[in-house]
């Protein structure tokens, strides 16, 4: 198998696993459908915005939960934002943690919130490293003169 085919195989296997393991959901497929020759970088641009936004959100969440008197409305607003952005790019596991996180906010359960913060940070880093790897694979395929296979 030549280099391009190998890379393409790798890419397909990796992508399939991301969906199977729930890191990504159908919304990510929708994003890819919106990418074309006139906007060849669309997915990577949106995902980059998501990464930037998420780092800020996570910092703000840490700060908010470290206050003596936790402002649950503020925490909830931040989690709501995170839930929205992760949902918009198809980061399913991150989104799911946000759902639980909001429940703990409603209950004003500070321990539950802390646990969720750790969990959401963890899930965020997992999906980020996987998406970084995915984009890297894409670049390798393109650099080798191949085209990136699409998952319908």
């Amino acid at each position: 198998m030549d280099v391009v085919s190998q890379l393409q195989r790798q890419f397909l296997d990796f992508t399939t696993s991301l969906y199977r393991e729930g890191f990504l959901d159908d919304q990510f497929v929708q994003l890819q459908k919106l990418q074309d020759e006139s906007n060849p970088e669309f997915v990577i641009e949106v995902v980059s915005l998501f990464f930037e936004d998420s780092e800020k959100l996570l910092n703000n969440l840490s700060t908010a939960l470290q206050q003596h008197i936790v402002d649950y409305k503020q925490v909830d607003a931040l989690v709501h934002q995170f839930k929205g952005s992760s949902s918009s790019i198809g980061a399913q596991r991150v989104k799911n943690v946000c759902v639980s996180f909001r429940n703990y906010c409603e209950e004003k359960n500070v321990e539950g919130c802390f646990r969720c913060l750790q969990q959401v940070k963890h899930e965020y880093h997992l999906v980020k490293s996987r998406l970084d790897a995915l984009f890297k694979l894409e670049q390798q395929i393109l650099a080798a003169g191949g085209s990136v296979p699409m998952i319908a």
Partner: protein
Amino acid sequence: MAISTESEFHVLAVDDSIIDRKLIERLLKTSSYQVTTVDSGSKALQFLGFHEDEESNQNRPSVSPMIHREVQVNLIITDYCMPGMTGYDLLKKIKESSSLRNIPVVIMSSENVPSRINRCLEEGAEEFFLKPVRLSDVNKLKPHMMKAKAKDHQEPAKQGPEGSETPEIQSVQPQQTPAQSSNKRKAMEEGISQERTRPRYSGLAVI
């Protein structure tokens, strides 16, 4: 930049999330609409040339009347949950305005709350989309814009050079042509974009 002589619809998208703005912009441009995105309800009203009768919030009052005449917005799509002015507040302001009330408004929300949906529809929203918004949702927009244009054509319309689409209500057609870039225009957007549309028959009911 090639200027298309086809009639095009101009959609104003309002969302405080930069990710969602990028997404909705792409969805709308894929459907061949001109797009302006803003990050708040107040900026949306500013862009629309909205004037409060009491205190004016306009920073550049001398420019506003000009913007009002040139800018043509055929539909407003707005997020519901925004800090400050919510999408619902924006909807109300638009429907209360004699100059803006004929512009169709669509609400987007990540939360499926029936009472919220009903309230928006009762206030005059044409559609309520659950996020994440998809191409199939955006395909529902055209009939509303066509209808609004038809309503505004009480007098004979000034047609564009190619005698573009007649203002009749068409059934929803699939707009997905992701491979086509020839008739797409790159709309400027960054915060408030001063998108200048060509002067032609107005989609806004200016009173």
